[in-house]
Amino acid sequence: MPTLSVDGIDYEVPEGRTVLQAIDDLGLLMNGVEIPHYCWHPKLTIDGSCRLCQVEIEGMPKLQIACNTPVTNGMKVHTKSERVLSARRGVMELLLINHPLDCPICDQAGECKLQDYAFDWGVTSSRTREPRRPAKKSVDLGPTIVFDQERCILCRRCVRFCREVPKTGELGVFNRGDESLLELFPGSELDNPYSMNVADICPVGALTTRDFRFKVRVWFTDDVESVCNQCSRGCNIVASRSNNKIYRFVPRRNDAVNETWMCDHGRMSYKKNANFRLTAPSVDGHAATYTDAVKRAAELVRATRDGSGKIIGVASPFASNADLAAFRDLLARLGAGPARFSVPRAESDAILIEAEKAPNAAGCRALGMIESGDQLGRAELAIVLGHTTTAEVFGDVKNIVLIDTHESALSVRATVSLPARTFLEKSGTFTNSRGHVQDFSAVVEPAFEAWSEADALAQIAAAAGIS
């Protein structure tokens, strides 16, 4: 492994990497080793055009761009020399001569790399008196993205993203010199299943999502780490929260799972979790208190067990591993067989989207649960986590105890229903399609009383006198 010295500290780095890649591989980029950059992105091809990542390398007369300079053994890089700082100041000044100073009304403010780097590496006053280049304001590029052309610094990350990831290539830089403009190719619009990623990788406020734009200032939000639950890929995400409300999901880098991307469907699913919730317990179709609902569920469990009636467990691939494990344990104590579950399926692609539209089917399988969509047959009682199984399979089942997050045909049919917390309201783990067990943390508190499935099961077991 080659040795790379950065500001006097030696690092062993992987073979065949450029300076910036090697520092990123070590997890040090902008996290100990400060090399500001715009056009470079760890998951896109190298462009080498913004020229901000220039560093001094011993033995090379000119400054070199860290993003495209291959590491050689014993290379000595300086990131803080006066020459480097002066070149950075130059790039920052040149980028700002045509960039509007509209931070107070720009939605990127607070998470803008131009703002950050100008603060860290730029100069405090402007030397230009020339008018700024006029360009378009607030243009729809498609259903999801709004474009403020005058803020674009032409790093071309979005252009490369569209060409290289969804391979749809809707965007290009047209004209040349200072008349260069990012535009859609004529006749196209930015409408692909991954379109909103361009807003994440845009370092400035040029590309913003129609959904999040102007909803909340980012400095009023906290970022909570979670995992998307819309398919078995389990893209790592950050949920932005403010006043106990989720404003957006953005992808969180995980090279083994989703690199730095997520699909638009998953990104917009934060809204799904908020609507049509099961907000109060019910017994026999009537609203009930928690105490009464738990009591009724416990009676059903006890009566069925004592009467040697059949108990069937139906699990949900949306439940967390802890909830599934609690369910498995309870079913075992009741002498019931392994839980059944079913997974909704739809189209997949070769990028991120998996066919299994649930986050934890692998967790169900790992706990010995059986995937089946068949009729449950004659049974006294079904204990059900979630409603991924259609109501018809319960045809001959006498009673249903349902612990669920959302209203459904099944919640109407259930003898007892108890509102559960969604994955955004509790912490836990999901196991994705590749077997990665991934943590998620509680982002918000539900506005009504709700328990995790494991807690609800424990309450019922306690009330039924099952240790």
Binding site: C50, L63, L94, I97, E130, R176, G177, D178
Partner: protein
Amino acid sequence: MIVEPYVKNYLSEHYGDDAYRTLAGYEAAGGFAGLKKAVALPPEQVTDLVKASGLRGRGGAGFATGLKWSFMPKTNDRMKVIVVNGDESEPGSFKDRLIMERGPFEVLEGILIGAWAMGAQRTFIYVRGEYKEAIRALESAVKELYARKLLGKNILGKKGFEHDIVVHSGAGAYICGEETGLLESLEGKKGQPRKKPPFPAQHGAFGLPTTVNNVETFAHVPFILERGVEWFKSRGTDKSPGTTLFGVSGHVERPGLFELPLGTPLREVLGHAGGVRGGRRLKGVMPGGLSMPILPPTELEVPMAEEFLSQKGTHLGTGGVMVMDESVCMVRVATVVAYFFRDESCGQCTQCREGTAWVHKLCQKIEQGRGSAEDLALLDNVPSLMEGQTICAFADAAAWPIQGLLRHFRDDFEAHVREKKCPFPESFEL
């Protein structure tokens, strides 16, 4: 139409003769003797000869040709490609046009010698789109070579020596004369220089190992092979052997092309062009095309070769000598230069895209009498933000002439700022 230079030497000796544009006429003048000598030698030895000759590229950068050839991979697992740069987009430069129009076989023979030396199977000649006659001349010459089996398979009976040549018409942008901008354009993409590494010798045209040489560079090669390294080195200077076609334009009595040995003093080059028009006084000379810093009249004794010009803060470039007489306003020159580079910047790199526009706005402002001392101070500084920091040398080419004009003609700039108008009413119109 110009058919030959005013002063001729070995390259242009027969340019006045229409027959020289045909294979028969070229052979009658001794053509293809160089190629025959080359194929009798092992390929590496041919590269060594070109190295030993000291031939430097005639496209502007003056890189050692033999050394460039030796960068090509020695293995034959991938097709190797030669690209001939006939884009000739440097303002003030018009020599390659005449070479292609009047001596197309010199270029083609040079290519075949290079192909033998480097083991290349394919050549693309990228010709500036406006050069219709050059394209016609090259296409007709290529056709004749195929008919005589000097292209295709088993050239000159040499088993395995095969080569094909494609003449490609450029589509018009200055930056397509930069070697990797040219490769992008050749591939049908927007003409934008490529970052290096990878270098063309590893990843060039269509991803194949590629050597890019200027038209004139190839035209010298047959003479080196035919007449020998010593003969070649006896012309020009130690470090810059051979002749070149100086293109003299601007305020001279007899603008045109002059084939002279490298190292000819600038005064002598101007003398061949009849001196400054109408007996006026000389104000400045750009010695190597628009992107090279200007020389003041006090530097007329400088030998026109890179090693001497670089001591004077400028470069030989393409040998396009632009002469300006006393009527010329150097702020107008700066404005024209700055406009050209603003207009032609490909726009990839921050410093070039933003810097060229800023420099142009400052020049324009000063020229129009709206400039302040602050603007002049900015003009001193902004080019230094651009220099040496970009993907290609374009930003240097945009910065250097402005720095040169400020270095030698600061009075002109200060007069504009002081008088709040252009003090040279006789100067050319913008």
